[in-house]
Subunit: 138 residues, 2 copies
């Protein structure tokens, strides 16, 4: 999927929720949430953000681009690691402030910068004596 | 899973990424992103936000509570619709600014306020002649 695009202005609630034009709701920082999902396994790989330019580049190239909030830069996922995300499909939610990307991961098939295949490698596992919430590796 | 909890202060990068204590990174608005996933099908149901109180209540009750950014209120998902989300497991991502909730949906099994089973019912489907991005119902 490669295309060059521009985004429609936000419309009425009906246009946003039932319409067939993409009109993303960028937040005060100009971002939408983007959830990357493995197209084969349905595993959630990561949750990141896109600004309009990242979304444009993703649509134009078919590779996932994000906006790094920590670095304040546009970011081609996998540019250095080789873990490029080739986009099979992009879905949008009802109020169009969140995108879901079905991707195939390149390189070694990983995603997380910690070296793991995805970012959600811990689960809540009860609480410690002092009330803190304990995690466990999955 | 029911527990009363408090959250650990943010630690070093290693403590955040490799540690076994929940230390959520609430954003400037006091929110973390929460992705609700059907525990059986792995379908992504919705993406919403939690403040500390919503997360506390979720941990304490085993039902998903969120913070509604549009209404500015705490929100027990399904309180009026009956579509309660009973939490089977909560996962956290590497930098602990996003939670993944594996849930079983009550009531009629739906999630989206538009009446659909989940919020991601449209996909990007190319572009119109004027360059706008076209969607298609899934």
């Amino acid at each position: 999927m490669t295309m060059s695009a521009h985004f429609s202005s936000r419309g009425t609630a009906t246009e946003i929720e039932e319409g067939l034009l993409l009109m993303p709701k960028f937040d005060a920082n100009g971002l939408v949430t983007a959830v990357a999902v493995d197209a084969d396994t349905k595993d959630i790989l990561m949750v990141a953000h896109m600004n309009a330019e990242a979304l444009e580049k993703t649509l134009a190239t078919g590779q996932a681009w994000y906006w790094s909030r920590s670095r304040g830069t546009l970011w081609l996922k996998g540019e250095t690691s080789g873990q490029l995300q080739t986009v099979q499909e992009i879905r949008v939610d009802c109020d169009q402030d969140c995108l879901l990307l079905l991707v195939k991961v390149g390189g070694d098939g990983g995603c997380c910068h910690t070296g793991r295949p995805h970012c959600f490698y811990r689960r809540v596992d009860g609480h410690a004596e002092n009330g803190a919430v304990r995690l466990a590796m999955i």
